[in-house]
């Protein structure tokens, strides 16, 4: 993609005093701007742009920078007259109202971009590795594009000026899953073909002459796309950015537990794991029952897979029912027992005076749980744990999910089969698994809310499906997690600190694409969140762009947020001191990621309707590289315009009121009552 996306944004956001931020870099890529009817409104541009950070920073490029080619130089202008065919957005006549600039605030924070000689925008800390001329981009939509390919230690940057409007494809290297050589025999001798199979549902292809390049393209790409396999650092450690907000401060476990009303008489905040000796995949701070000794806990740890003992994730503010997470008990084929573990669950039950029961939700398929006994795992026997009810949520494992998403890629990229679109989606079973997850989470939430009963959630190790289920249930139960900051806390807490193995599941910087540890579990979780935002359009403070941005940086390796498998590893690698947090970037410009419809559904438990009738394929994420998949004009665009109008009217009314009161006291008192009624409305506005 495309310059156009970025550039379009530039046109939009460019007020008289604002430098265009789109021009020299690209949006992420997507579809090939050249080809086809594709997107053109602000949100879409923003989404595409957000897909790579590089696009966000370009705003600071001085437009008059030297030896820029003519086209690039005039881009911001010609955008205004709709010359460029793609991604350009003008909104409804927004060129006429200056206030519209605030629709698309420039993404301010992101660095001074250095422009290399050949117009490649660079992030602070980014260096060019090689530049190859005369490369063909094999666009699945519009054929071949000839241009220059630049590879840095962060991204691959392809530009072409052979057509009417400049074409840019910008792919960050972190998103690459594997490099494949392809046959391009029709391009003549000495030509190699290369396909970049990406984790985010696209696979751009190139053809290049071997003789012309000094360095082999594949070698350079492989080195920087998979730095860990080549003993190089991840780019996050090279990225030198200054954000005004420090995202590492977003999550403070003690503060979060205090918000929940902890510690209390039944639960205590324990530092037992401060050196990660008890459990190396758990965070250092844990909430455990008050009435249990350290010795007992150690024995429980031995009985639970990977020592992941039952710990509190969330407590109901009224009923004191809790969500407790752990791993499977190691009952094994001989049905071993552990009386400390049994007592532990009894104490969890007793901590909640409202119910004399405890429900265990085992995320796995019951048949799999049984099989696990043979591997020394298993599940709690209801006969050994009195008053405990065991439910299997029947969710298939990570391998099934990986395969499902792989099938989805075939459905959405590069082209779609219009006649069989719906049935093809059904065949991937992706939405079926989304349905299972949401249904499981809804059951958990309902058990707490209506049943006032504490629940224990686990799968096998308690870091995949368990994280999905507890975080979704908490999203339904606690309106705080539906805010922009609260959601960050939820991800930091349930996913990052509790040791979802991001490094293994995503494979950051690792060339072993066939590793069976990889699986899109976090993508699946974000998809579930998106489904909820679709059903409750006013209940979430963050917007779709936020969710897409989170997923883009799940792969990009630009921020330290999702790196490594556990808190212990992150501490050892000094992630916090040496890298930036994704939340620094997000929270430095929160208005871009805020849902203008948001109203606080405080104290409302929101159950999504878990029915195929309401689950949709998130095509603006999965199918965004297809230029024909232009998303629909979002309602919130109009809403934002209306908010601006309201603000303007309020200002005028107030002005007139002031005028009136200065002219005549009597008239002002006459009018003063009614306007206050309207201006005092709590409608949430981000203008």
């Amino acid at each position: 993609m495309e310059k156009q996306a970025g550039a379009a944004g530039a046109a939009d956001g460019a007020g008289p005093n604002r430098k265009p931020w789109g021009s020299p870099t690209s949006g992420p890529a997507a579809g090939d701007s050249l080809d086809s009817p594709t997107g053109s409104h602000v949100e879409w541009c923003k989404q595409l742009i957000a897909a790579t950070i590089s696009s966000q920073i370009s705003g600071t490029v001085p437009p008059d920078i030297g030896n820029r080619d003519i086209k690039a130089g005039r881009r911001p202008d010609f955008l205004q007259d709709s010359q460029d065919e793609m991604h350009c957005y003008h909104g409804e006549g927004d060129s006429e109202h200056p206030s519209n600039a605030s629709n698309l605030p420039a993404l301010r924070y992101g660095a001074q971009v250095r422009m290399a000689q050949n117009q490649v925008p660079l992030l602070p800390g980014e260096t060019i590795q090689t530049t190859v001329e005369d490369v063909m981009y094999i666009c699945p939509f519009s054929g071949l594009v000839n241009g220059t390919l630049t590879i840095t230690d962060y991204k691959l940057y392809f530009t072409s000026v052979e057509r009417e409007s400049p074409f840019i494809l910008d792919v960050n290297l972190g998103v690459i899953s594997r490099l494949e050589t392809i046959s391009v025999s029709n391009q003549g001798e000495n030509t190699k073909g290369l396909e970049l199979v990406c984790k985010d549902m696209r696979s751009p292809r190139f053809a290049y002459k071997t003789e012309k390049s000094h360095l082999d393209v594949v070698e350079v790409l492989a080195k920087h796309a998979f730095p860990l396999s080549h003993s190089l650092p991840l780019f996050a450690f090279l990225y030198k950015e200054q954000f005004p907000v420090d995202g590492w401060k977003v999550y403070d476990p003690v503060a979060e537990y205090r918000r929940q009303g902890l510690p209390n008489e039944s639960w205590t905040i324990s530092k037992m794991n401060s050196t990660y000796e008890l459990c190396d995949t758990y965070p250092s701070i844990l909430v455990i029952p008050t009435n249990i000794t350290d010795e007992d806990i150690k024995r429980v740890a031995v009985f639970r897979a990977k020592h992941r003992i039952p710990v509190l994730s969330w407590i109901h503010p009224e009923s004191q029912a809790t969500i407790v997470r752990c791993s499977q008990p190691l009952v094994g084929p001989s049905d071993r027992r552990c009386k400390e573990d049994e007592r532990f669950l009894q104490i969890i039950m007793d901590a909640n005076a409202q119910s004399h029961k405890l429900t265990i939700f085992d995320a796995r398929q019951s048949s799999v749980a049984v099989t696990n006994k043979a591997k020394d795992g298993g599940f709690e026997s209801e006969s050994f744990y009195p008053n405990v009810e065991l439910n299997f949520l029947e969710i298939p494992n990570i391998h099934v999910m990986r395969e499902s998403l792989r099938k989805m890629k075939d459905v959405v990229y590069p082209t779609i089969d219009e006649a069989h679109w719906h049935s093809a989606i059904d065949l991937t079973h992706w939405l079926e698994y989304i349905r299972l997850l949401l249904a499981g989470a809804a059951k958990i939430a309902d058990k707490l809310e209506s049943g006032k009963t504490s629940v224990v959630v686990h799968c096998s190790d308690g870091w995949d499906r368990t994280a999905q289920l507890t975080s979704l249930a908490m999203l339904m139960l606690d309106s705080h997690y539906r805010t922009l900051r609260g959601f960050q806390v939820l991800v930091e807490k349930e996913w990052i600190s509790f040791g979802h193995k991001f490094a293994a599941r995503v494979g950051h910087g690792d060339e072993n694409h066939a590793n069976s540890e990889r699986s899109p579990l976090f993508v699946q979780f974000i998809d579930c969140v998106w489904q909820m935002t679709r059903q409750f359009p006013a209940a979430f403070e963050f917007n779709e762009l936020f969710l897409i941005t989170v997923l883009d940086h799940l792969y990009s390796c630009l921020f330290g947020t999702f790196l490594y498998n556990s808190e212990q590893e992150r501490t050892a690698k000094e992630v916090q001191p040496k890298t930036m947090s994704l939340w620094s970037y997000i929270n430095s410009q929160p208005e871009d990621f805020t849902n203008p419809f948001y109203v606080d559904y405080e104290h409302h438990v929101l159950y999504p309707l878990v029915s195929s009738r309401h689950l949709e394929l998130w095509s603006s994420y999965y199918a965004r590289w297809n230029p024909r998949m232009r998303p629909q004009v979002p309602v919130h665009q109009t809403l934002k315009e209306l908010l601006i109008l309201r603000a303007e009217l309020q200002r005028r009314v107030e002005e007139l009121q002031r005028e009136a009161s200065s002219h005549s006291l009597s008239s002002s008192s006459e009018h003063s009552t009614s306007p206050s009624h309207t201006t005092g409305t709590p409608l949430h506005s981000v203008v």
Binding site: D35, P37, S40, H41, S82, D84, H87, Y89, E92, G93, E96, H97, N100, S142, G143, F392, L393, E394, E418, A419, W421, H422, S423, L431, L436, G440, K443, D446, E449, S450, G451, Q535, F536, P537, A538, V599, D600, E602, L609, S611, R613, L617, S619, R630, V633, V635, T638, L639, L642, L645, R646, V653, L656, Q657, S674, H677, G680, T681, P682, H684
Partner: protein, 760 residues
Amino acid sequence: MVLDRKKVACSLQVGGKFLPQVEEFKYLGVLFTREIVVNEVNFVRKCISAESSQDDLWGKLICTNFKVSFIPQDAPTKQKSKLSHLLLGEHDIPLTCLEQVVTVNDTKGKKKVLGSNQKLKFNPTELILYCKDLRIIRFCFDEAGPESAKKVCLAIAHYSHPADLQLLFGFEYQGRRYHEFKGEQVNGSSPRGGLQTPIFDRPSDWDREIKRTGASEWRVCSINEGYAISQSLPEYVVVPVSLADQDLKKYSIFFTDQRIPLWCWNHPNGSALVRMTSINDPLQQKKIDQRIFTAITKSHPQRSEVIKSDLDKCLPTILDIQCAFVKIRQICVIDPFEESEERWLTSIENSRWLEYVRAFLKQSAETVYLLDGKNASVILQEEEDRDLCCVVSSLVQLMLDPHYRSLIGFQGLVQKEWVMAGHRFLDRCNHLKKNDKVESPLFILFLDCVWQMMNQYPAAFEFTEAYLTVLSDSMWIPLFSTFLFNSPKQRAQHLMDFAKNKAIPQGEDQVVFFPPVWNWSQQFSTKDQTLFNNPMYVGKGAACVQNGEVKSFRRTKKNYSSTLRGTPSSMRNGLRGGEETLPRRGSLMSELKPDFSVVKDESPSERFFRDWFSRPADQQGVLIPLLIPSHVVLWKLFFLRWVPEACIHKGGPVTAYHKLSQLVDEIELLQIHLRRYKGPSPCSTPLPSPSGPPSDQRRMYFKASSPNDPPTPPEYLTSSFPFTPVGNLCRRSIHGTPISKFLNGARIWLSTETLANDTV
């Protein structure tokens, strides 16, 4: 029990205000004055929920010559979340709304679909009414007298199959209403009761349309006055000026039912949209085609070519459409919920309904290309020109002309392209249940297509999906003239007979004595009608009011006249004084660089669409829908509103609508304040929506929130709002199945506590 409803009927005509006793009568069972109780049975149980019988209502089931009515013993708890109909109670179903009457005897395991004049060999224990508006209503007779139950069932079946159109209750109702209302009619008031929707039954309506669209080379022709030429055309049609009445008469014999080609609309560039039947005589076809083409070409300022598009060849037949609708209805409401959950998308695909919706949108979009991109006139041809042409011509006009996206414009469009063009509403709706083979939900298909565009361009239409849904429901209430007849002639004849029978003086306006559906105060209170207003459209209009004051925000009605080819702007003068001329995207093609070509082997139409989509959509300009399958989706409000299992509590698009409405209401209040401060000024008076109530009345259903009124959408909002599934969809087969069972292997997902709370 026949209650005289005189007062009530009168109050309805005043509109907006209705007397408190109406509310009371509602659950006592209100009958219109000429409504006759045919049969009734006591101690009937109306099933409310499939889960359990604890919410079921006990009461009396009545069959009248108008409706099936259920009168519960206890006063119902007032449901806030419901649109309340002024003519129908919560438990009333007009007989014309019945699709199928099914009686069941549980103990004997028998089931029978009842028709007219049939016998029933068993005593029914249950009556299931399948309704055309997709409701399924179930009554149980466990405590009722078996004989009376049987009689009521037979009566319902019989009276829902009227032998003659005149037996539809509308004729009784309107006759009575006319005379009662007449006394109160103030002399000098506008003869059509203030109805602003053009009916297109008189030359002036057509003249105005010709002027509005700048079709200066077209004229109103009255050769069909008294239906002298064609049985199915309106009395007045628009034809090229170059064709004389004599020629038209001569040619008419070659067209099916003597339907001479019918002008629909003119593009500002001069291209015309025309609809036409096929030509019977193959020998004459070429010659006639030639004459028609020449005449249309002559009426084009640039003498552009004429392109004929044969809709029979490229679109599904009316039978295909009926078949798809039956399937999708089966999946959405009739099949057990859990079963249809499995492979839901595949079932939807297999029904082909969405495929047909796409096909019609695509055909229309291609016609838009011909008119707008290619600057050519288009003839839509169909064998009879009374079915597919109605859908395509009205969609094309909606895409090209923002006027039709206003409420009045849309209603005029339906009058022009459906009612007056002779769409066989009587047959396609199968009101008399005489012939299932001619039944086809073309109008619903059209409404679905409109909804798809509305869904893709949410600020482009003045009205909402609730409006479209209510409009579709009105097809099944036989009290309005709009959907009762096959042609204007049939209407005229029936209404003439009717006038004679009811002693209505000759020369009285049909629209007054048998009004169309467009007078919405017949059915809904002023407050409920505000649910039809789209805040995004109204809000932008509101900004327009302040044009000149709030310069930063105005509706983007650009005047493209400088780029319009050929048509002097004076010809495009609006129909209302001062109204903007049609905003046009205009000649985009000429602005393109000649060397701009991206896709190899791209056809001009592909290029036109690619070019259009590459620009930001001007929602007040030309609109082209996205046709990829991911963007043409199921119209959930219409298809799922009655399905309790599919109802999202506290959620759904309505929560966004709620917020938008509050915001727009607040904006309007602020503007009122501003005006008050400024005093009267010229820019403060006009409101953009001629249909809206006067500016001092608020146009939003949800009012700006006040400090006492929390901003959270009210608890009662659901994805079905303003409809409610409660008691409106009771499938038989699922007894005691919790909603939960549909989950793969998983047992329950919501506990009974939650369910109990939710069903209230």
